[in-house]
Each structure stands twice: as structure tokens, then as C-alpha cells.
């Protein structure tokens, strides 16, 4: 059992829903990212997604695009991200970490090598946004040999046959994209997607998280009611982007995550 499975087991036992938080590595710098990760966990995040910056992030809205640009200007790459995760692991051996990014940086490093190094550093899974199951077979093999989960997206317009295809390769959890669009887009409309989520739940046998466009406590609560976990990213990046100094950033992040946690915990199974 890996950290992700353990995490969802614990949540299930305690009758709670998960909170998954995303921040881009190296925005504004790697040391800050480490501090942010710790604050996210201290205030109730169950899983951390670390964004691997890419020059052409086609699935991301302007907020995460800007974060990626800042990170790339700081020279952040997979090696510095593995080092970051290693440092995080010295204090925290429990919280799962998922790297979320685009295929090309992984491919240039060599996917097999990246999987092995990531596992050694303490990473638990990869979510490669532009790698659909049709193109993922070989890479999925590298990941499983390194005991890493491959997290896949399921979209509101994914057919059941596609969900079946995803199910064959997915482990850890699946990420249900709440809107057709890019990250940080218009707010989440649970009514419109509830049927699709129910169908996906029936088809996959691993936990489902909902993300894209969750900005407020009410959104998080609504998403928690029909899923196993809630994923928040752009809203956190906005806090990081708007903060004038480190200490106010840390306290704003803490307060925001605590608010999400409480809203999610108000949903009892």
C-alpha cells in the first residue's frame, strides 16, 4: 500500500472527504514552496500536488500560466523538484505528493529515469495532463515498476468507454475535471456534472477527486458532497501571487486552507 491508498483509507475510516492542494514548484522560489507545502499540510491538506512548470501549459488558465513562467524564470526543473520533495520528506513521511505537469519535460529527462528518481525522492504519483490513456501504456509500465500511481483526468464529456480505458491504467485516485475549460476557470456547477460524476464513480473502483474552478468554501463543500476529495489550485496561486511578503502569504494560505477544510468536514458521509 502506498501513501495515496493509505491516505484515502484513513479518510474513509474517519468518514471524511479529502483536500488536495496544488501549488507550482518554485513560485516564487523553491524554499518558499517547501514552506507553503508544510503550511498546507498543517492546515488540513491531505494530498499535495506539485506543479512541474512547462513553457506551454495548454490546459491551464492565466493564473497557473503566470506561476509557471515565474518558476521557469527561477530555473526550476525536475531535479530541483525531486530535491524539494526530498527535503519535505525529512519532516513528513505520510502526506502523498503527486507531480502534475506536461509530457515534454518528463520525456526529455527520460520517463523511466524520472519515475525512478521521483520515487526515491518520495513522490507518490504523476499526473501528466497531455498524456491520455491511448498514449500511456509504456509510461504506465515505468510508473508501476517504480511503485508510482498514474493519476488520470476524467472530463464531463468522457464517454463510459473512455472511463473504462482510464480505469485500466489509473491508480491512487482519478481527477474529475469539473468544467470543460482550463484550470481556474469559471466557477464549478455541480448540478451540471453530478450525473457524469455518478456514472464515473460507478465505473472506477478508486477514489474520485473533483477539481478545476473551485475557489470558495461553498464550491468545496458542494464538490465534497459528490466525491472523495476536493482539488484546489488556482485559488492558492492567486494568494501567493497577491501577497506582499512571505509572512502574510503564509498566514493567508493557512486561513484559506483551514476554511476549505472546515467546509469539507461539514460534509459527513
Amino acid at each position: 500500500m502506498g501513501r495515496i491508498d493509505n491516505c484515502f483509507d484513513r479518510l474513509k475510516e474517519s468518514g471524511r472527504k479529502g483536500l488536495i492542494t496544488y501549488i507550482t514548484a518554485g513560485d516564487p522560489d523553491i524554499d518558499s514552496t517547501l514552506e507553503y507545502m508544510n503550511v498546507l499540510v498543517e492546515n488540513g491538506a491531505d494530498i499535495i500536488e506539485i506543479g512541474v512548470p512547462f513553457s506551454d501549459p495548454i490546459a491551464d488558465g492565466p493564473t497557473i500560466q503566470r506561476a509557471s513562467e515565474r518558476a521557469l524564470n527561477n530555473g526550476v526543473d525536475l531535479n530541483s523538484i525531486f530535491e524539494l520533495v526530498g527535503r519535505f520528506r525529512r519532516r513528513n513521511s505520510e502526506t502523498p505528493i503527486v507531480l502534475m505537469g506536461y509530457l515534454n519535460p518528463f520525456e526529455q529527462k527520460g520517463f523511466e529515469k524520472a519515475s525512478i528518481e521521483a520515487q526515491k525522492a518520495g513522490v507518490d504519483g504523476f499526473l501528466v495532463v497531455d498524456l491520455p490513456p491511448e498514449e500511456a501504456t509504456q509510461i504506465n509500465g515505468y510508473l508501476s515498476r517504480a511503485n508510482l500511481s498514474q493519476i488520470f483526468l476524467i472530463a464531463p464529456n468522457s464517454s463510459l468507454s473512455r472511463v473504462d480505458l482510464i480505469k485500466k491504467l489509473a491508480s491512487g485516485f482519478v481527477y474529475f475535471v469539473s468544467v470543460k475549460g482550463v484550470t481556474g476557470d469559471k466557477g464549478i456547477q455541480m448540478k451540471e456534472i453530478s450525473e457524469n460524476i455518478e456514472a464515473a464513480k460507478g465505473a472506477v473502483n478508486i477514489p474520485i477527486g473533483i477539481g478545476f474552478g473551485i475557489k470558495k468554501n461553498e464550491d468545496a463543500k458542494a464538490a465534497a458532497m459528490s466525491s472523495d476529495a476536493v482539488i484546489v489550485g488556482s485559488a492558492l496561486i492567486e494568494i501567493i501571487e497577491k501577497s506582499n511578503d512571505k509572512s502574510s502569504c503564509l498566514s493567508s494560505l493557512a486561513a484559506f486552507v483551514l476554511g476549505l477544510r472546515k467546509s469539507i468536514d461539514s460534509v459527513v458521509k
Binding site: 506551454d56 500560466q65 515534454n104 526529455q108 491520455p132 475535471v177 475549460g181 476557470d185
Partner: protein, 409 residues
């Protein structure tokens, strides 16, 4: 596929891409999950449409009466004399309605969009030729149109921006990244993923996720089909060489494709050498890049060792792109097409030569192919035949060229 190649816009002699959209190791469909369903739908719609005789008739009519095909194959007599070697012929795609080859594709894809029940069309554009061709066909079909264009390109191709607006399109400036074609493509993909229910994305080149490289190639192959037929009729034989410029590579694939099986015909693709390959400031992924994944397909890219996409440079906005169509990547590895580069300076000289010797103002993109053709002609015998795809006219480039010559208009 159409059964009879003489029908004029498709070829049966070539079986790639495979069903997953691969050309060997290249191509494919590397997009986020939300686009996977719509891309399958597009593929199905396209495959059924090309079996539909009504569609084929309508497309042929549009190409004949709206676009003005066939375009002439024209002997560039004075330029040939100047070079003093092989005979240079020009495939006059600049004489198409809207002034470039781009419209061959937009006419076809717009019919496809209509058939699929879409009401809004989006496109990316670099030089603005594809944007104009898309805005044109959207106006004619009565569809809403939104064109994404890098803000740097908007500055250097202002006549085309105004043309698109006159045609009723909304032109959205893209300020992210390098503010050129690559970033316009990113933004168009983001729009498409958001508005996929009512929106059709007309990609302008043979790149992007499957089935786009195939669809665009099939619609552009009319260039090569006509060229082949014209060579046989006018010259009594196949050409010895066919030359075309390569950015994303649609005009090149269009003219090369029907010649790929003709092993005696040399095929030469010309990438933008910018300030020179050694400076790193160029747009030549096939000549100086390496394979990777961008914009939904695996192909040669200009990238750093970490897999981040490099900024590109070319005097021509239409070639200023860090990737290239996956079929070109495959043709390069197969050795069937030879890819070379021409720098800004040589392209500008060829631009001047075409104006002064033939009375044709070519696009700066096309001028790269012309420079290579002049060079080639000098090294070939007088009875050899070199065909250049004169992919577009240069009216859009007047301000850029004036600026370089230090003239203010």
C-alpha cells in the same frame, strides 16, 4: 479515402497516419482528456464526409469558383536566366482568393464544421494568412469567427489584422510567452477546450493532435495533385525537384504529398534560418531541433535540454514556430525529403529578385523557398525542372520589408 486521385484533392498511395494518428514515432494525440472525445468526433465526421459525394462536389465547386483553382504553373523565365541553370517553375498559390494556399484548407474544414453543426469558428494565425482565410470562409458561411494572434505578430502583420476585422472576425491578441504563433495556438486550444460544444477549431497547419495533420494535408494535397498534372501536360514529364518553405509545413506537405511515391523527384523543405543556425535565433526544428511533444503531437521541436520550448526567430511570422508537422518529422527520418535552411538575409534577397525579375511580390515565408530554388537552379543542368511552391503573396509584408530597408510608409 477518395478512390480516384484524379478527383483532385486526395491521394490513395500512402497509408499514414495509422489509426492512432502516428507517422512512425511522430504525431499522435497528446491532449487533455476534455479534448479526446471531440477529436474522435471530428475524426468520425471527417471520415464519413470524404465518402460523401455531395461534400466532394461542394468542395470542388468552392475550390473552383470561390478560391479560383486550379492555380497556374508558371515558368519564371527571367529568374531562370539570371540563375543560369535549371528551369524554375512557380506553383502560383499566391493567386488563390485571399492570397495564399491557406484557403484550400479553410474551405474544406468550414464545410466540415457546418456539417458537424458548429456555429462558431476559431483559429490561430502567425502571418495572418490563415486568419484571413478563416475569417473569409466564416463570413461566407455566416459563422461567428474568432482569431488568436500573438501581439508581436499583430504589430508586424497589421494589414492582415485589418483584413480579418473587415471580414467580421474578432482578433484576440495573445500576450503570453513569446507572443507569436506558438502562443496563439496555445490560446486557441484553451478556447476550444472551453467552448467545444458549439466551436470548431480550424488549425491552419499540418500540426496539432490527430486528425488535424491528416485533415489539413488532405485538403492541401490539391496543390501537389495539380502540379503533377500540370507538369505532365505542360512539360511532358515529372519535375526533378520540388521546393517549399516549412513553418508548420502545410504548403510543403500539400505540394510534396502526391510526389512522395515518385522517387525520381527530389523534395526539398526550407526552414527559416533566422539570424543563422549558429546564433540559435532561428525557426528550424527539423534542421537543428530534437523530438518532443508540443501542441498535441510528437515531432521535432526547438527546445532546451529540460524540455522547455525555446523562443524562435524569423523575419517571417508564418515560419516563426518552434515545432513542425509530424509527417515532416517522419519524412526527414525516412530521408525522403531533404530539409535545409535559408536565413533572413537570403530570403530578403530572394524577395527582391522575385519582385524585380518576375513582377511578383512574394510572401516572406515563400521567399525562403525561392532563395533555395535559386541556389538549386545554379547547380542543376539547363534541362532540369525545379518547381517552387509560391505559397503566398507579399502584400502583408510591405511594412516589414519597408522597415528593414529603412523606409517609412
Amino acid at each position: 479515402m477518395l478512390k480516384n486521385p484524379s478527383d483532385g484533392w486526395q491521394t490513395t498511395e500512402y497509408s499514414l497516419p495509422d489509426e492512432k494518428g502516428h507517422f512512425g514515432n511522430y504525431g499522435g494525440r497528446f491532449v487533455s482528456e476534455t479534448l479526446m472525445g471531440p477529436l474522435s468526433e471530428l475524426e468520425k465526421a471527417y471520415n464519413s464526409l470524404i465518402e460523401d459525394q455531395k461534400f466532394i462536389d461542394r468542395l470542388r465547386d468552392d475550390l473552383t469558383y470561390f478560391v479560383g483553382r486550379p492555380t497556374p504553373l508558371y515558368f519564371a523565365e527571367r529568374l531562370t536566366e539570371k540563375c543560369g541553370g535549371g528551369r524554375i517553375f512557380l506553383k502560383r498559390e499566391d493567386l488563390n482568393h485571399t492570397g495564399a494556399h491557406k484557403v484550400n484548407n479553410t474551405v474544406g474544414q468550414a464545410l466540415l464544421a457546418k456539417k458537424m453543426g458548429k456555429t462558431r469558428i476559431i483559429a490561430e494565425t502567425g502571418a495572418g494568412q490563415h486568419g484571413v482565410a478563416t475569417a473569409t470562409i466564416a463570413a461566407r458561411m455566416g459563422m461567428k469567427c474568432c482569431i488568436y494572434m500573438g501581439s508581436d505578430d499583430i504589430k508586424r502583420q497589421s494589414p492582415n489584422v485589418f483584413r480579418m476585422k473587415l471580414l467580421g472576425a474578432e482578433v484576440k491578441a495573445v500576450d503570453s510567452g513569446s507572443k507569436t504563433l506558438k502562443d496563439a495556438l496555445n490560446e486557441a486550444l484553451r478556447d476550444w477546450v472551453t467552448n467545444v460544444d458549439d466551436t470548431y477549431y480550424i488549425i491552419g497547419t499540418v500540426a496539432g493532435p490527430h486528425p488535424y495533420p491528416k485533415i489539413v494535408r488532405d485538403f492541401q494535397a490539391v496543390i501537389g495533385q495539380e502540379t503533377k498534372q500540370q507538369c505532365l501536360e505542360q512539360l511532358g514529364r515529372m519535375p526533378d525537384a520540388v521546393v517549399a518553405c516549412v513553418g508548420g509545413g502545410s504548403n510543403a506537405i500539400g505540394i510534396f504529398h502526391p510526389f512522395i511515391a515518385e522517387k525520381t523527384v527530389d523534395l526539398i523543405g526550407v526552414e527559416a534560418g533566422g539570424f543563422g543556425i549558429s546564433t540559435g535565433k532561428h525557426s528550424a526544428p527539423l534542421s537543428a531541433g530534437s523530438p518532443g511533444v508540443l501542441h498535441g503531437n510528437r515531432t521535432y521541436l526547438m527546445q532546451d535540454e529540460l524540455g522547455q520550448i525555446n523562443a524562435t526567430h524569423s523575419v517571417s511570422a508564418g515560419l516563426d514556430y518552434p515545432g513542425v508537422g509530424p509527417e515532416h518529422a517522419w519524412l526527414k527520418d525516412q530521408g525522403r525529403v531533404k530539409y535545409t535552411t535559408v536565413d533572413d538575409k537570403s530570403a530578403l534577397e530572394a524577395f527582391d529578385n522575385m519582385c524585380l525579375y518576375e513582377g511578383i511580390i512574394p510572401a516572406l515565408e515563400t521567399s525562403h523557398a525561392l532563395a533555395e530554388a535559386e541556389h538549386l537552379a545554379q547547380h542543376r543542368s539547363k534541362n532540369s525542372i525545379i518547381v517552387v511552391n509560391l505559397s503566398g503573396r507579399g502584400d502583408k509584408d510591405l511594412f516589414t520589408v519597408a522597415d528593414i530597408k529603412g523606409i517609412s510608409l
